[in-house]
Amino acid sequence: MSDQARYGGVLGWLDNRYDLQPLFRFLGHKEVPIGRHSLLWYFLGGATLFFFMVQVATGALLLMYYRPGEATSYESIRYITTKVPFGWLVRSVHCWSAHLMIVSLIVHMFSVLLLKAYRRPRELTWVSGYALFVIALCFGFSGYLLPWNELAYFATSVGTDSVKSVPVVGQWLLEVLRGGPDVTINTLYRFFSFHVVILPLAIVGLISLHLLFIQRQGMAPPIGETGPSRGMRFFPNFAMRDLLLWLACLLILLVLAVFLPYGPGVPGMEWQLGLKADPLAPAYPGIKPEWYFLWVYQLLKEFPPHILGLEGPQLCLLIVSVLGLLWGLIPWLDRRARAEQESPEFSDLGFAAVFFLLFLMLKAWDIGATKGADEAANLATVARTCAWIVVVLAVAINVVRATVYRHRWFLLSGTEVLHVVLHGFAGVPYLVAAVIAGALGGFALLVGRWRTPGADGGVVRE
């Protein structure tokens, strides 16, 4: 039992009963590694956690008024936003923090990728983090249907329809997910259960596991720095900085929620209630899913009806699933990082992924389209405009990588830029352009023309 005189007041009372000494000793010894890279990257997980906590708090408040049902879902959301004092603000904060949580999660994931923080022995931290990302997307998807408006109805119709591509059990899974063959109010009941019970339980369990891994193993030091390194004391030095960041996040969140209560008005980032869902109304022009699903939405458009003996959507979703699986297996695929060596290929993979996703997102937004123009001409204009944006951005980013961070490996990002160039400027169909760019990239990889052995490309430095 601890010494009573060690602490005074409530702390002393608690310490007398629960022996807090091991906890304080643990906090006193816990350190965050300081290396060549910015300490900023270590705060992103905490920011994500903060937005999640805001989600829980505002979600609990929304539940006080929300009533799931064909005659009540839409009406209760309208009641919350128009009649309940500050109801609009609670909903706005809930929606904004959902988007900001996904943003900070994505940035967190890419920072972990660039710092190679997933390398041995932290493989399961990456996997649990990736699972958390997938659950966060499921949260967004299930929450989308709850207002039971037109946008929610069609987004859910398209999103859930993809499930039928799963071999053998696809149709059964689709019906289990929807509560029937089509999206009906039964689907909303199931999604409500997912959104407020099943997913929260799953995410709390996974967050606990993720944090446990981090506590047991500590934060990953920069790659190659295996010896004793400098560190910042977690408590109070890092924790106080974390709190300061949370305060900044709260301020940003509130400013956005107050001044843009229904989102920035960009398709995929707006939550105007609109019209109530009507299963007998056709999908309206310009309908778009949430911004983080836009790339899949656009990719589905790029696939022809039939390809390689499969239906286009089936092959598309198969490829997306394989890519998703490979992303989860990165800690095992990156063998150089496992051996504490630089792995510039995987840093470049991260940038290639960004260019790939960005191009599809921009294209889904029809950037560069002019109203009333011929459809085929518009498609070409949109592809060209989006290609320009991605190429300019890619060149700028890769110049910074080469000059500031001394990266020397650009094969994958270069291949993706070539893909975009072939499609956007030369008018080659998206998939054909992918095959050509992929073949050329593969050839270049084989002959090793672009590769400088031992180049340092994998570390984010200050």
């Binding site: 069609f154 119709s157 398209v158 859930t160 329809d161 993809s162 059964w172 019906e175 289990v176 929807r178 509560g179 029937g180 063959p181 089509d182 039964n186 299963p279 007998l280 109304a281 056709p282 999908a283 309206y284 022009p285 310009g286 309908i287 939405y297 589905l300 458009k301 696939f303 022809p304 009806p305 039939h306 239906e311 286009g312 959507p313």
Partner: protein, 148 residues
């Protein structure tokens, strides 16, 4: 080397199968509980309501329920009636008839079908399933599933 069967290996096997049976006794009811009950098959013709007929006059198309299915009924330039599943064969969005272009269009991924339900352009992999549409002498319009 020949494998010997001991009392311990038998008990291990028994314990393993018991655990599996125990898991199955939990999973099976849950799976059955989650699987929606099959809806009754709607085989008879459905008459379009006055509201549907008004929509047909105003927009040249109406989407009508037929059991759990949704059917797109539209009138082409020759005033001929057509009926197809309103569910796009690509990702299941609800399609509509565009009278100016005489095409069935899905706004979600820009799929186009002709008035016979065949894919003209876009990603839909299959034609729209057809329904039988009839009009009686009193002007009532009926929709029914196509006989196999």
């Amino acid at each position: 080397m020949a494998r010997t069967h001991t009392r311990r290996s038998f008990l291990d096997w028994l314990l393993g199968t018991t655990v599996l049976a125990w898991l199955a006794s939990i999973v099976y009811p849950v799976v059955r509980y989650l699987t929606p009950l099959p809806a009754p098959v709607h085989s008879g013709p459905e008459r379009l309501t006055r509201g549907d007929l008004n929509k047909l006059d105003e927009k040249s198309f109406a989407i009508v329920p037929l059991g759990r299915k949704r059917v797109l009924v539209f009138r082409d330039k020759k005033q001929q009636l057509h009926a197809f599943s309103a569910k796009c064969t690509h990702e299941g969005c609800t399609v509509q008839f565009v009278p100016a272009q005489s095409v069935v269009w899905c706004a979600c991924h820009n799929g186009h079908f002709d008035t016979e339900g065949r894919v003209i352009s876009g990603p839909p992999p299959r034609p729209l399933p057809a329904y039988v549409v009839t009009k009686d002498k009193d002007g009532n319009i009926f929709v029914a599933p196509e006989k196999a």
